[in-house]
């Protein structure tokens, strides 16, 4: 730095952080922030390194075929299954969560709302292995009866077709379990978002003669759109990655890939594939295969999040 510089400018930046405590605090925070990045990068690199030899031996068919018999391995059915289960879970959980949070924010008396909030939060605290056991012993048998009814009355809709007569271990039941696990997460976010609708906007809508429905439709939901989608994404993340609860109720089937027969026994899920095969993996190569499957699950979750963000930005159009 030349002497003219020091004469004309004083260094304000370093003066602002000249307090020693501040400096230590700032550096600690920065370090903590980078830790998250380092962990993420570490996982990606670790999984990526395991994936390379798998792709070298299996080629792209690792992604496009559905088989798990040495020497051929392909995870297409499992990848697809993960998405299918997540979609089923979303279809069940999102409406329930939204209605629940609308009730808590706009309809329920304060006391009731508080109790419900605590109950929903408690639901989120149930360990997934407990939910899995519940699903195995209680939900699956009951769900078989629901599915029989669905098949009986709505069987003409392709997704409710069942030719085997076996309603156990279906994508529907697994998706339902995921929905049960998503509801508390999605609800606590949507409740928070809806609760933050500015009162002056609600006032404006009331003064214009709104009903609860039109107020939600035109004011509260558009206002909280970003947060609402964020909440759903959080739930979706759990649905895609959930392992043990699904493991209890889904029958893993590689072939044929179950594309849309959601009440037919058998389906796929990457996370469940990994947990079910890992313990009995026949040698280091199969472990590598499972880690590679994990890598693609990770990539898929990332992709889903990117797509979701695009959707949010696209639908950000104003109401004319």
């Amino acid at each position: 730095m030349s002497s003219t510089d020091t004469e004309s400018f004083r260094d304000l930046q370093s003066a602002a952080t000249s307090h020693r405590g501040d400096r230590i605090f700032n550096r600690t925070i920065t370090l903590a922030a980078f830790t998250a990045l380092i962990v993420l990068a570490g996982i990606t690199v670790f999984l990526g390194l395991q994936t390379i030899p798998v792709l070298q031996t299996q080629g792209l068919s690792f992604l496009t075929t559905s088989i798990w018999v040495a020497p051929d391995y392909g995870i297409w059915g499992m990848l697809y299954g993960s998405v299918l289960l997540a979609v089923i879970a979303l279809v069940i959980a999102v409406p329930v969560s939204l209605l629940l949070s609308v009730f808590m924010v706009f309809l329920a008396p304060k006391g009731v709302s508080k109790v419900l909030t605590n109950l929903v939060d408690l639901m989120a605290a149930i360990p997934s292995v407990i939910i899995g056991l519940w699903a195995f012993y209680i939900l699956d048998p009951v769900s078989q009866e629901w599915q029989q009814l669905l098949n009986q009355y709505l069987g003409w809709i392709p997704i409710f077709k069942n030719t085997s007569g076996n309603f156990s271990g279906t994508p529907f039941t697994a998706g339902f379990v995921l929905a049960v696990m998503m509801i508390p997460i999605v609800t606590s976010v949507t409740r928070e978002v809806l609760g933050r609708t500015p009162p002056e906007l609600i006032n404006a809508a009331e003064a214009l003669g709104c009903s609860l429905w039109t107020m939600l439709r035109y004011v509260a939901l558009p206002y909280g759109r970003g947060g609402l989608v964020g909440g759903v994404m959080l739930g979706l993340g759990r649905a895609l990655g959930e392992t043990i609860a699904v493991f209890f109720v889904l029958k893993i089937v590689f072939e044929p890939v179950n594309y849309y027969d959601i009440i037919e026994s058998g389906g796929g899920s990457i996370a469940t594939l990994i947990v079910s095969k890992f313990g009995e993996a026949a040698g280091p190569y199969e472990v590598k295969l499972l880690l590679a499957a994990g890598f693609f699950l990770f990539m898929m979750t990332l992709l889903v999040n990117v797509i979701a963000n695009l959707i949010v930005n696209r639908t950000g159009r104003l109401q004319k």
Binding site: E200, N203, A205, A207, L208, S211, L318, K320
Partner: protein, 284 residues
């Protein structure tokens, strides 16, 4: 009946009393709205007591008084917004075009569309365009009116905003300045064709230039509708109001109307010492 007895009466018996007192006929075309012996509670706390005011058609009435005297609460009872607050109670009646707006058969949505409201803080819907905001009342209430383009132009013109926004009707409402947003909100209220417009300190959050524009708008609107405006700005009341009512709540008692009449009288020749003190800025 003593004041204490009156206070202790239940809301139901107050209603009965009102029915018997409500025999006095209202000449249509002269009185648009009227509060009759109106008392208002939030839970157990009485915030307004025995308010009687008439609002003649096509006039501007200013409600003045120190903060916390119940003006805003009063104005919210006039279009049935008060009842949306949990624990809100009311006795007496509010007449609109000769009918009690709190009668059981009256649809509050109908009342809120006929009696529009503009709030202190400009509150356009941020997720809508300028045009979308003007037309939002129809969406929210399910009201059907043809010729949306014409409504948009007419109401924005009436609110004194048309020339500033006519080329960007599809821009977000949030792009407008505070003063413009408030005029947009006025246009939005007008789009559902109200007969009365309630304004709760509509200019208190705005700069002087925007305030003058809002006042111009109010003077223009008065030709077609009846306006009731809460204001803390004495000069504003003098500039725009035909009539003025002075509210006051003393020592934690419920707010009451101390004095009302033509604005020139209230400001030029008040009968009550407290009015004189208030309009001369000696308290408030």
């Amino acid at each position: 009946m003593s004041a204490a007895e009156f206070d202790e009466m239940s809301v139901e018996s107050m209603d009965e009393l009102e029915t018997s007192l409500a025999a006095e006929p209202v000449t249509p075309g002269t009185v648009e709205m009227e509060a009759r012996d109106l008392s208002v509670w939030f839970g157990a706390r009485k915030v307004l007591e025995g308010v009687n005011i008439r609002f003649p058609k096509n006039t501007v009435t200013a409600l003045i008084g120190p903060s916390g005297c119940g003006k805003s609460t009063f104005i919210r009872t006039l279009n049935r917004l008060h009842e949306l607050i949990p624990g809100a109670k009311l006795a007496g009646s509010v007449m609109y075009e000769g009918k009690d707006i709190y009668a059981p058969e009256v649809d509050p949505v109908h009342i809120r569309l006929n009696i529009g409201m503009v709030f202190q803080k400009p509150n356009p819907f941020p997720s809508m365009t300028i045009r979308g905001n003007v037309l939002s009342g129809m969406k929210l209430s399910g009201m059907k009116r043809p010729n949306h383009d014409q409504i948009v132009e007419e109401t924005l013109t009436a609110a004194g905003l048309w020339n500033e926004v006519k080329d960007r009707l599809n821009a977000p409402a949030g792009d407008l300045s505070g003063g413009q947003q408030q005029r947009l909100v006025i246009a939005r209220s007008l789009a559902v064709n109200p007969h009365v417009l309630l304004m709760d300190e509509p200019a208190s959050a705005l700069d002087p230039g925007s305030t003058l524009k809002i006042e111009e708008t109010i003077r223009e609107l008065r030709k077609d509708i009846t306006i009731i405006i809460v204001t803390h700005n004495m000069q504003q009341a003098v500039r725009i109001a035909d009539n003025t009512a002075f509210f006051l709540s003393l020592d934690g008692n419920p707010g009451r109307v101390i004095e009302q009449g033509p604005t020139t009288e209230i400001f030029g020749n008040p009968q009550d010492q407290r009015t004189l003190d208030y309009v001369n800025g000696r308290f408030g």
